[in-house]
Amino acid sequence: MADIKVAAYICKGCGLGERLDADALVKIAQKDGKVPLAKSHDFLCNADGVAMIQNDITNEGVTHIMIGACSRRAKTEAFFFPENAVARANLREGVIWIRPDTDEARETTQEMAEDYIRMGCAEVKAMTAPTANAAAGSSKTLLVVGGGVTGMTTAIEASKTGYPVVLVEKTGALGGWAAKLYKRVPVHEPYKSPADTGVGELVSQVLGDSNIKVYLNATVAKTDGAPGRFVVDIATESGATHTEDIGAIVQASGFTLYDMNKLPELGAGKSANVVDQAGLEALAIAAASGDGVIRRPSDNQPVKSVVFVQCAGQRDPSGTHLAYCSGYCCNTSIKQAMYFKDANPSIDTTIIYSDLRTPGNGEDFYRSAQEKGVIFTKGKVAEVVPNGATSTVKFNDLILGDTDASILDVDLVVLATGQVPNSGINIDAPAGVEEEGVVQIKPISILNLTYRQGKDVPQLKQGFTDSHFICFPYETRRTGIYTAGPVRRPMDIAQAREDATGAALKSIQALENAELGRAAHPRSGDLSFPKVRLEGCTQCKRCTVECPFGAIDEDEKRFPVFNESRCRRCGTCMGACPVRVISFENYSVNTVGAQIKAVDMPDEFSEKPRILILACENDAYPALDMAGMSRNEYSAFVRIIPIRCLGSVNTIWITDALNAGYDGVMLMGCKSGDEYQCHFVKGSELGRVRMSKIDDTLKTLNLESERVRDLEVAITDIERVPEMINKYAAELVAVGPSPFKGF
């Protein structure tokens, strides 16, 4: 912290000069901000203004820069000084655009701007310019777990881009499910008939690529490290273990068909002539190698009538079976019905569906099946009753309203049972408790991570791997580890190949950023990372438990071990730390705390309350900026500080603010819970859990609970947020001024 020189620059462009007294702001920066060098400029973001700042950096030795102009979200390219600490006072979107241009409002508007200058000066002094993480690894090798269509596509795409790949496959052959198919749903014009799977070609491409190292009959025994420097132990069937240095990981562990034996009412297990979709593929392959006639498993007689039961054990609202639609099975049943119709049009093929969902170009495929004479019946199958070699399918005909409809003498019944992800261990499940209604997944770890929080990537409630499904669907909650294919969500081959390509590119991005020691996502390019003052640590483990991304491990003395390359820079650890020893170079308990304290607090008789708003920089802050752009006015009594995430809010800020005489504190964060919108997945949820305990603090301070307000804000709330602010400001008038003013 030696030798810092701070400079403040006030812009007069965009109407700032007309609406605000820039000379007074310069004086505030000098007097209250204690900045030795303060200047104003007519048009700070133009070449001349930027050159002025650059000149001061070069010739005056300025290290810390405070820019009082537009929002920190605007003009980021002009005000880009990577060697310096930079703070921005939001005078445009945050002050003049949200205030009316009237004589009465002039005084409060100027006060607002002056406070933001004070806050900016205080913030920048508490910052240092971030330097990249030094503990970065530089491995460029990609590990692909799973040798199915998804895994092979990822390997091929990454190899084409020039990155070496290690591919680990559990079985003795590449190909996965797709290798067990007779044919696949077509992906090219005219979408009329089943097409070749193309798996053989993929396999030979993988095996012929010297850039791809394949381990068959192998599993991942241990994954240690962080993006750019993973060390992975691969256990092979022979008992030998190979160790590989890996930069990033793609988990393409695929799916298992939902066990049809859980559906005895549909005849599964009662008759050999009731099969699942994989069972029919096997029959079709057997037929193709013989005379082309698909035969009943029970007595080898040719199949003359076949019924496909859609949604078998899927879309079940009762919670007994899968709750979701797997999305691919309608097209698959259409394809399988064509196996019969293409061979012999006189075979009766009926597909009983409740909603036919044919993604991609499936609609053409569906039409083609109708032309070929496949009968589509809208209904819900109640029961399959095997009777000797044939079965009776009883169903509720939803079009004709016939609850007692049935199809007699069916030779073969095919159940479309859907996909269950192979996502490894559910690390969030309470140990030893089997939750009712939740599908149990084989508890075999896929990645065997040495992370403190568990061996596999976290899951969503259906067992699919968790990702930010709105903004960053590819990302898992483990940086540098991507899941692709049906382990991420149910999908077909075409979607899986697209998914695989995306995951290959994403993982390359992750390992390249890891080498440069910066964040890949969502704060891409961010060089800051959490630094911990271990001598103050009390080993409480809150940071290691709460980190949404499993970035923090524990050493044998239970001190936190930060893996910077796994970090997404949300600051949840910083908000969690009760002794406040975790901070970022440019974002810390201090940078925000100093801003809170820098505000000039009017006395209780001035009738000028002060409301502190801590706004999430991902959603709430842009919403506030956009409110400014739309000139949606709000109270001049608020002072807004952007925060990285609600999870980074340390309760000391709230206590400090209330002690300093703020009348109220508003927290603006994203939606949490199952349908979260938080960029850091768990950040807003953890922040809210912490804030729910703020009532105790308020009680000890003898304050009303209205003084702290938690608000869920989405980026689209451009009109709602100003309304909520004004409403809160009015409520606080009723509550009365804070008794802590003037101390």
Binding site: Q370, G373, I375, T377, I399, L400, A405
Partner: protein, 210 residues
Amino acid sequence: MSANTAVADKYRNNFLKEIEEQVEMGDWVKMCMQCGVCSGSCPTNFQSAWEHPPQELFMMIRAGKREEVLTSSSMWNCTSCYNCIVRCPRKIPITHIMHGIAEYAHRIGLAPKMQATRFFSGLFWKNCTQTGRVNELKLSMGLYFKDGFASGIREGMKMKDIAIGMVLAKRLNPFELFGGHKCKDQKGIQAMLKKAYEIEHARKAAKMAG
């Protein structure tokens, strides 16, 4: 053996195939995807005139409900407005299929005897093919007396004011009841229609037999 039992025997359990082969444009029935846009578009269906809307008829055909479909009065209610054809996302010629099914039910003797549309169609055909011109007076009177003499008088009297007005305006000539005027070559037109009927009949008979 009646025409009905002959074809029923021929197709046994495959009613869809029977419709595909015997009904005009019947091979489109399998293409229906049950969206129901036809039913929603039908102007007559707002009065619940249809026991089974078109997409339901198609599903009944696929489900093999032969008796119910062919004796139904539903397809006879079609007014040929073509709304369903215009709107069908599958481009199914629904109007033509409705008439096709009706015609087939009539051909094999399963159509409801006194269904109004069917009765009118027969009346109209007889009326216009006899003289080569439609005799409006005879046609409308035939309709009034459809359900017997007493109800014919009763229904007819309801319209007497309009009828008198039309006579005064010279839009209705009561003497048309006796003979009425004819087209120039009455014999020729009858011969032409007879030939057409023979060709059509031979074609359909061959289909039903073959």
